[in-house]
Symmetry: C2
């Protein structure tokens, strides 16, 4: 089995796309990566919305936040990862707490999609900034379908094609919290509860 | 970049473990795969709880469901994927709906962990059946930490070592809904809303 850490590490949320389309067979490999994502009880709550027609594409783009609309509209392939909560389980804890699984399952599928895209030399940039009702309506989907994230997919283009502020973000280093904060061995300490945002402030301050 | 679909496809929720431990450097590769998982605004809400001491391990195993406790206790490495919702964003839709990102982000991290484990020849079997307060308490973690899934990790052992009912599940084929139900091109139809459970019933009925 080949090493896959490069495909996970090299994944970056890039914003400059080459206009050439993503071939059908490459698209299908991406969908297959989503398809094999596991879910408890094999519930498979995830659906993948693909905007192919100019109308669906335009409506999806209109549903993105102002910050995403510009660069994402230049990507040749726009999709959205969605899930049907009613298809999936909710577990109850001994304290009465509720734990729904659909968003977690959709995350696994999204992880597969991004890893597979990176391995194929593609950008797959998920976006949290969008209006859920608008993206749902772009595909005439019912309200019981939850939209987790639109994803802009395509081959990388030249960084120089981006506006200057986005150029800087495109080439900045990947920052992560240290492993000894991410990984809790045996016992939680207050250090593990420090947020990445707080850590950034400390480093910069 | 090597093909990674095999690492995604070959991932199976197996239950028979070889007793040999997972070496430290291999563990660290797994943690790095989790570390590089993306999150909106680089919020990094995910934490990885590793049960190393006999006490933490025993407490984690006690928090698993009856169906998981037996086989999972034989895995050499038990962890749990968790997240801090307070570290992460919640988005609001134009219809007032709320969309929290932490469970989705934890799913991406879990997907990375499983893909990396499979590529290293390991089983990484996530479990939905567990008591969240009990698993949280195993690590003395605060109630604002949500536990998404314990994961049993280790090298595969002989299927024959499992009880008969689990042997059958170990070798059954991977069933997935057809791609034309998973993938929605431009427009949602009623067919896309059929659950995997309902499809299984139709096939068997």
């Amino acid at each position: 089995m080949p090493e896959i850490l490069p495909a996970l590490t090299d994944r970056r949320a890039r914003r400059s796309f080459d206009p050439r389309p993503v071939p059908r067979d490459v698209q299908e490999t991406l969908w297959r990566a989503v398809s094999v994502a596991p879910s408890h009880g094999n519930a498979q709550p995830v659906r993948l919305l693909v905007a192919e027609s100019p109308q669906a594409r335009e409506a999806l783009i209109a549903g993105l936040s102002d910050g995403n609309r510009g660069w994402a509209a230049a990507s040749p392939l726009l999709v959205a990862i969605a899930a049907m909560p009613a298809h999936d389980a909710a577990m109850e804890g001994s304290d009465g707490s509720r734990r729904e699984l659909w968003a977690f399952h959709a995350g696994i599928a999204a992880g597969n999609l991004m890893a597979q895209a990176t391995a194929l030399g593609l950008i797959a940039h998920p976006m949290a900034g969008f209006d859920e009702p608008a993206v749902r309506a772009a595909f005439s989907a019912p309200t019981d379908l939850r939209i987790l994230t639109p994803v802009a997919i395509g081959y990388p283009g030249p960084v120089s094609a981006l506006p200057e502020d986005l150029q800087r973000r495109e080439t900045s280093a990947q920052e992560r919290i240290p492993l000894d904060i991410l990984v809790v061995t045996d016992r939680w300490t207050d250090d593990h509860g420090v947020s990445a945002r707080e850590l950034r402030k400390r480093t910069q301050g």
